[in-house]
Symmetry: D2
Amino acid sequence: MAESIRLAVAGVGNNISALFQGAELYRKMSAEGVAEADFPGIKRPRIGGIGVSDLTFVAAFDLHPNKVGVPFKDAVLAEPNNYPLLGVELPDPGFSVDAGLTEEDADPSSPAFRRIVERLRESKAEVLLYSLPTGLQWAAIAYARAALEAKVAFVNCTPELVARTPELLEEFEKAGVPLIGDDLASHLGTSVVHRALLGLLSERGLSLASSYQLNLGGNEDFRNLRERGASKRQSKINALAQEGVDTSNVEVIPSAGYVAHLKDHKVAMLNIEGLGWAGTPVSIDLKLKVQDSSNAAGVIIDLIRIAAAARRVGFGGFSAAAVKVLKSPAGGHPSYTSEDVAEAYRQLDAVTEAMAEK
Amino acid sequence: MAESIRLAVAGVGNNISALFQGAELYRKMSAEGVAEADFPGIKRPRIGGIGVSDLTFVAAFDLHPNKVGVPFKDAVLAEPNNYPLLGVELPDPGFSVDAGLTEEDADPSSPAFRRIVERLRESKAEVLLYSLPTGLQWAAIAYARAALEAKVAFVNCTPELVARTPELLEEFEKAGVPLIGDDLASHLGTSVVHRALLGLLSERGLSLASSYQLNLGGNEDFRNLRERGASKRQSKINALAQEGVDTSNVEVIPSAGYVAHLKDHKVAMLNIEGLGWAGTPVSIDLKLKVQDSSNAAGVIIDLIRIAAAARRVGFGGFSAAAVKVLKSPAGGHPSYTSEDVAEAYRQLDAVTEAMAEK
Amino acid sequence: MAESIRLAVAGVGNNISALFQGAELYRKMSAEGVAEADFPGIKRPRIGGIGVSDLTFVAAFDLHPNKVGVPFKDAVLAEPNNYPLLGVELPDPGFSVDAGLTEEDADPSSPAFRRIVERLRESKAEVLLYSLPTGLQWAAIAYARAALEAKVAFVNCTPELVARTPELLEEFEKAGVPLIGDDLASHLGTSVVHRALLGLLSERGLSLASSYQLNLGGNEDFRNLRERGASKRQSKINALAQEGVDTSNVEVIPSAGYVAHLKDHKVAMLNIEGLGWAGTPVSIDLKLKVQDSSNAAGVIIDLIRIAAAARRVGFGGFSAAAVKVLKSPAGGHPSYTSEDVAEAYRQLDAVTEAMAEK
Amino acid sequence: MAESIRLAVAGVGNNISALFQGAELYRKMSAEGVAEADFPGIKRPRIGGIGVSDLTFVAAFDLHPNKVGVPFKDAVLAEPNNYPLLGVELPDPGFSVDAGLTEEDADPSSPAFRRIVERLRESKAEVLLYSLPTGLQWAAIAYARAALEAKVAFVNCTPELVARTPELLEEFEKAGVPLIGDDLASHLGTSVVHRALLGLLSERGLSLASSYQLNLGGNEDFRNLRERGASKRQSKINALAQEGVDTSNVEVIPSAGYVAHLKDHKVAMLNIEGLGWAGTPVSIDLKLKVQDSSNAAGVIIDLIRIAAAARRVGFGGFSAAAVKVLKSPAGGHPSYTSEDVAEAYRQLDAVTEAMAEK
């Protein structure tokens, strides 16, 4: 059995609540005799020998007044977080949330930055998980640099450019520190479902007449999205493009609205109108409902295990194992085959096992 | 430009109405200047050089009193057929529907059987399309044998065992007569959509909790299905089985009911309940509405072009080109790779082109 | 505070499980400080002074081997019952389920019948709730006669003719024993939703083109319904008829299928296609999901309180208070105005209060 | 048979296209032998003797460059209008669209205002239908004053305050000129469906847990709504309020997004989560699809017939006949009973008939 990952987090939002509570829930299931292979929602019970409950939170950074200075255990459940309580007893990792970086102290020489590096070092963190709200490019880079300096693996959940910055990636490679990113692909996101159905239509030879997708939710992401919808819209339409699919009549509404009572649930509606033989119509209407932050945590659990395993065996830079759970992997999707991914997993497992035997 | 396929049909139901009307509709589109590549609902404008309007109906067999002895053009629109009128002027192929075989005269020596063989010969049919109601195993075999004797390619749209009968397949091969079957896979059927979504869930690592699928329609298939639902149910559940998908909590209702006013439309409802990270729920509800017989005709148009092209170039027996549009191809799906299919198409096209140049 | 109703039940199915568990759940809510007026799903916290938790089960009759001779508390949860466990501690009423009547001993002189009468008497039951599976006309009459003889109020939840039998009703009236029936109207049933939408279309002046309704479930009702669908279908179509609504293009499928994993959930799908100005189309698609037996229990709680209150104040025969929660009240719906219903409630309350003050 | 209404319109948008095309479509149906009583989407074939095709357009005012100076027949179909072509031959009323009022010339003394009054007079218009985009309070008042001066009945389709302005209403009354408004209630709008379902839940005694409604479309209204959503949102939530319905957990999104390819279709999605017996959940999901401008025209046809009939018989001011097809009738909904409405219709019909007999 592998040692727990020592995890630091930048951002203590719903994703972290889902991760923290979920890890405990699986631990409880295990104690009740449920085999790892039967864990719901888990594709890989072990990565590099690390199980889904093998997490120890050791440091956290945030700026929200409800969280800074508050014991981590409580900060995770503080508003505006609204991920549901899973009804499992939560451990107290014994530390409080530190004030995070502001844009003014993004420079590596600032006292705040030095404090972050120091905190990562003294907490013996193995991985720093970056999941602040989307749009803070300076923050993503600053935390990545702090992690690099502290020789802590870095995982970027957001669309900010980090692992896709060749110079930075090279620095991580040289230092033997893993850098995993960018932008997690949801466990079962609207895009992946929409894309699959549009692809199916094309593969079967039907013509796409029109399609729309809209998303609703009640967490902070949805409140924010209503504002910066335009860029997100185009990026989501791009995600649907594929051979045989003309997206000119496809509309995507990233946030059709903020519905407070949905809390951390996301609801998506899809409509696809197609034309079959003799131009006769085909229509598909779909409603998808997910727990938004579980949708992230189900993928984060793989990203941080890849990062920790890679660091333990000394692989710096990006790992191809992460490709399928990222929207924009370092180097871009076309750089990797399915075989590359499988091989990366095999290596992580093999070296880990070799080390375990020693 | 290839010559039209001389087509004989056993069964003059909605599928034939869709095929006959649709071919004219595309002819009209073409006359109005629409390029083949822009035809709605058509994946392959040409197979072996044959376009989707290159059809000449030359003979038809049926037993329904509204159809026997009636000019083909009228029989195609006679009740209980209820495929919509596409608003295109239909040509008169100039023949009437012949009485089909009854179970008593299934023997090759019967006068009725001799009449069928003779009719196929004198009509110079290239392909006999078999699309009688499901469940008449004796009829499928009898018509196949008549086609073989008349050296007419045979296409089996139904689940009856024909191309999967090794002895019969061998006879067709030896005689250089194509035998394409069994059981067409709908252009965009409920199974293929349901299977894709269940597969996606599994691929992304979510657990399937439960699922159901139900189908409604207003044509004769649905009236009949209500009765023989049990076998169809199991076959449809089997169609969903795939790696990572446990179908023990999956229910399929092939005919949830006959709704007369739906006529030839089919409506399917799918529900999928899954479990993501920490066992939090994911749900998908989908409604699919299609023109049922267009869903068949969109695939039949490929099967008969494959059959005619194969016959023209002298390929007997099964053609791998048909694999992706059949539910139960001769030899079974695992016998063919995607490359086999592509290669089969290439050969049909190449030989056809070579012949055209001569 | 009124005394608890002493309740006997014929049939120990999901409805009784819902009633028994629900009454305890509300008792628990009350203990936790929730005011009656805030109880979820309760329109009338008091009827004749009786609250929704004021139930004491005193006798039960059934024929299922999993239930006869079994302590009531366990029988309520025995298969094939599959109403969910509400997570509330259940009291033990201290009696076991008695064998019910079979068709052979329906005669009042049979030893079995005598045993039922005797059991009702010695248990001091106030109300006998009849909720055996639909279709046992003989059983409904036999239990009603046993109740009459024991001077116990009778409530008929099923479509069997009991309160609509004028002679029987007269006997109850003469004896001063309440007789409440027939056929409970679900708390929020498919018919009431479908009817409301069709009525709205008509009221607004749109034309109905076509409509269908289908129902799915996983309890014993759905397993049985698949068989006797035809009569149920017509009765459900009748329930939709109203001024301005032509049901000739309306199809109802009472059981589109038995989906075991739905257990006691019922899922209904409605489609309505209408025509507005200039014949342009309007369409409505609706999915309704309910807990089937809660849908019954939410109405049973009113029926038995009406019956008990009427008996306590000496009102024999039918009570107009029950009209809105019955599909086929004694005398028929047109015999009662909304004012009749309100007045009946007022009387039950007034006499009860008068008695309480004494 | 009554004479055609001489109709002037302020605003030549989709609603006018629907009205103009629809009137011709019904005329064609009539010519083909369809009885008025069988016209789809028409509740009252005659109001004051006036049929749904009895319309003669005589003047139109607009500011859009694609419309001003253009023959009415063409302006009705000019972009951004995107109501579908109904495939009926349209008459040419023989006039072009006049430039409408701008805010600068809203004063009755301005030359532009004088021109409008003059145009109304010389065209012998009986009714001026006001259906400019929502939000132009000054324009609604200015056109109403022009109508009053020209003694032309005024119908206000928009939420602007006109008929609810007591002073203005009094002036119309004194002058014997009808004033019908404000704000048409859609033929089958999202609010009326949502309200009916929430009311049903309450009436049946279930508790509302939460609900949301969202609307999508592709016409100019939806493009505009995305901007001024907040006030519309509150007004739509207000429209759902009723006895027993707590709207604190109800969210309405008037424009979840502008989906160009929907054109003049409106799609609404509703979700209602309720609690039944024992707090067990009930859920309703509904999709409504309508032709947005038909939804308006189906009501406008009644408003203008009421206005014209009232003018013909000399009734000035508001007519109670219009109450049920307006969101904010003069005096407010509570001022009128259903009997008032019926009586107003009776009077319009009676006086009309009396006049016809003379």
